[in-house]
């Protein structure tokens, strides 16, 4: 029996066809060779005395081996034995079960997997579930924006998510004469809307840090503002919702300055107490108030569709799809907005009031911040029963957490202690979901699993009432009446520049050292040569070479 090992053979199982014989040979030649048979019907193989895992299948003569074996032989008939032989559709289904990082690793394996993994539709899902539809910022060349594959977009965005750990610039926006209570960022249009005790809604340009427009005083302290590309709403102490509709032709969407315009402005009166939170959806508008209700409105008709009754003052709300989550008193609620019924309630989430709420883009993760300075993370689980499970806790603040904002993977909180905390939730999600659940069931649900925040930003006065995140920037405002934009958009470029400079300096240093050592060793080389030259020229050279190496080694160390 011959043993043939052709290392050059393609493991090309992609080439498998009915009549061809393929085999791959790894470095360790297993003495139990397999004789390649050109006749598929042959059944003579001398493998019985070897590993019992090898098995002979009847007349087909196909051999199946544990893949960890150093020799894998595939007698090909109709069943090929590798993942690359599966039809692309099936491979796609398998890849569908993987996380982004694993998919990235798979794409490095070979060309066909690379193609499949990179063009897989799941990259779009990965992107959209974290950040929604990508904002196509004015591209320099429109062709570029379209050609970027979803995978590239995803990888780029993941990379950019590190910016919050980098260097920043601060833009300070002056304008409000009294404390600012609410901030809302509209990333797609690069606008920031703020308002507060001075009753004026101001619109700012986020990139330049300049004021664009401000409304007239609306009649009462404004505690909540929400905006999207079609509608801007504000609500406050008097319980009304004042809104502006976007008009084509207006340079910054909303015309705040013109006198009361019947067509584009409106005011809805229904709440019986101050409005503390507002949110917008595709078709609906949500408002929460100290009258203990949340009202769900139809955006076009401005009719109130549903009233959700709570047990206490509503502090904050976060809608998603057909549900809305709300923080009222110290409890967390989740409602179904179509029926208007309560899906889940978690009581006493915080000691004291639960002032703030944030939700992930998928709607599954909820974050609450409370008077006790703590932040909790919850996950909505919709198995047989709909329930909300606490996943993690942070206590980054010494004072109440007035506001939360979430943009994957960063959770930003603003507190009465004048600080912002930045928390990266990616680490919590990296573990397999079931693993997290198992871990929790063993740990007491109290304060045992408290994590530290990744970063704290501070240094400016007290009482930050509002924060929002967008376009690699964090916007916060509070008692001082000053709006601050923490600009991290250059962080990555700065980091690269710093690293490049450091690399250059290191290179120069190494070069200088090398020159120095060469000069000193040249001197010693001369001595060595004169001594050893009589005996063996070669030896002398070798010695000097060794000397030089030793000297250089010392310097390097």
């Amino acid at each position: 029996m011959e043993f043939e090992c052709q290392s050059g053979t393609k493991v090309g199982l992609k080439d498998c066809s009915r009549d061809c014989v393929d085999y791959s040979c790894r470095g360790k030649a297993d003495p139990s060779f397999i004789e390649p048979s050109k006749n598929p019907k042959s059944s003579k193989f001398n493998s019985e005395k070897q590993n019992p895992l090898r098995r002979l299948d009847g007349k087909g003569g196909s051999l199946s081996l544990e893949c960890e074996e150093s020799l894998a032989v595939n007698e090909v008939l109709h069943d090929c034995r590798s993942i690359t032989d599966l039809p692309p559709a099936l491979i796609s289904e398998i890849l569908n079960c993987l996380e982004p990082k694993e998919l990235g690793v798979v794409s490095c394996v070979n060309t066909s997997l690379y193609r499949l993994a990179s063009e897989h539709h799941v990259w779009k899902e990965f992107y959209c579930e974290r950040w929604g539809q990508p904002i196509l910022l004015a591209p320099l060349g429109t062709e570029n924006a379209d050609e970027k594959s979803w995978k590239e977009l995803f990888v780029e965005r993941e990379f950019r998510s590190k910016t919050f750990m980098g260097r920043y610039n601060i833009d300070t926006l002056y304008g409000h004469t009294e404390a600012v209570r609410t901030v809302s960022v509209l990333s797609s249009k690069k606008l920031v809307f703020t308002s507060g005790y001075d009753q004026i809604v101001r619109m700012w340009n986020m990139e330049e840090g300049l004021s664009i427009a401000s409304s007239r005083p609306l009649g009462c302290t404004i505690r909540a503002v929400a905006a999207d590309s079609r509608l801007l709403v504000a609500g406050g102490t008097d319980g009304f919702i004042h809104g502006w509709r976007a008009e084509d032709g207006i340079p910054h969407l909303f015309d705040l300055t013109s006198p009361q315009n019947q067509n584009t402005e409106f005011r809805v009166w229904e709440h019986e107490g101050p409005i503390t939170c507002l949110a917008l959806d595709l078709n609906k508008m949500y408002s929460g108030s100290w009258d203990m209700t949340i009202r769900v409105w139809d955006r076009s008709s401005l009719k109130c569709l549903n009233v959700l009754m709570h047990n206490d003052w509503v502090w904050s709300l976060a809608p998603h799809d057909t549900t809305v989550a709300s923080a009222a008193g110290s409890d967390l609620y989740v409602w179904d907005t179509n029926i208007g019924s309560e899906l889940a309630i978690v009581t006493n989430v915080h000691a004291g009031n639960a002032f703030s709420l944030a939700r992930s883009h998928t709607g599954k993760l909820l974050f609450t911040g409370g008077e006790d300075g703590a932040i909790h993370m919850f996950e909505i689980i919709r198995n047989v029963k709909f329930h909300v499970k606490r996943v993690a806790t942070w206590i980054p603040h010494l004072g109440a957490v007035y506001s939360l904002a979430f943009e994957f993977p960063w959770l930003v909180s603003a507190s009465s202690d004048g600080k912002l905390s930045l928390i990266d939730v990616r680490k919590l999600l990296r573990t397999n979901r079931s693993y997290v659940v198992e871990k929790l069931s063993k740990v007491d649900n109290k304060v045992k699993n408290v994590e530290p925040p990744q970063r704290m930003l501070h240094g400016f006065g007290s009482n930050l009432f509002a924060v929002d995140v967008g376009l690699d920037r964090i916007v916060c405002a509070g008692e001082e009446g000053v709006v601050r934009i923490w600009n991290f958009s250059e962080a990555l470029e700065v980091e690269q520049r710093v690293r490049a400079l450091r690399g250059l300096r290191l290179e120069n240093r190494m070069r200088r050292r090398k020159l120095q050592s060469e000069m000193t060793s040249k001197g010693s080389r001369g001595d060595q040569c004169s001594v050893a030259a009589k005996k063996n020229q070669l030896n002398g050279d070798r010695n000097s070479w060794r000397n030089r190496r030793r000297v250089a080694g010392k310097l390097k160390a």
Partner: protein, 153 residues
């Protein structure tokens, strides 16, 4: 009773009620076939598939836990067996089995570095050296994670 014949010419007689879980077989039965040759499924795989279908044919609530246990054990097979099952289940249109198989195979890929994947699946790297370097650079972000996870586990 329907007769199935594997590629190795082994015949199996199974009740129709069990076999209709397979879309392909169901169609053939509706066309009044009682003898169904399956040239792309070998005997061993066919045995496993029949075992699966028998277990899943009886779906009463009390047995659901048993079925789940069975499924978990069923997936503890070698990769080759799993691939054979995927091919067969695809050909026979047994979607519930496929839904089980995909994550099981994916689990073997999870948390592995590229070289490990190549060895386990017997795939040879067919990139040119420049291509390989470029692709690894492009996917550096993916490799950072797996290394860390490797050490944590």
């Amino acid at each position: 009773m329907i007769t199935l014949q594997s590629s190795d010419k082994d015949v199996f007689e199974i009740e129709q009620s069990i076999l209709i879980q397979s879309g392909t077989i169901k169609n053939m039965v509706e066309d009044d076939f009682t003898f169904i040759p399956l040239p792309s499924v070998d005997t061993e795989t066919l045995i496993k598939i029949i075992e699966y279908m028998k277990k899943h044919a009886d779906k009463t609530d009390s047995k659901e836990k048993n079925i789940k246990e069975f499924d978990k054990d069923f997936m503890k097979k070698t990769l080759n067996e799993l691939f054979a099952l995927v091919f067969a289940a695809n050909y026979l249109h047994i979607s519930s089995l496929l839904e089980l198989l995909y994550p099981s195979i994916a689990d073997r890929i999870k948390d592995k570095i590229t070289e490990a994947i190549r060895q386990i699946f017997s795939i040879r790297c067919d990139f040119t050296p420049e291509e390989e370097r470029r692709i690894i650079m492009d996917n550096k972000w993916a490799h950072e994670g797996t290394e860390i996870e490797g050490t944590l586990d």
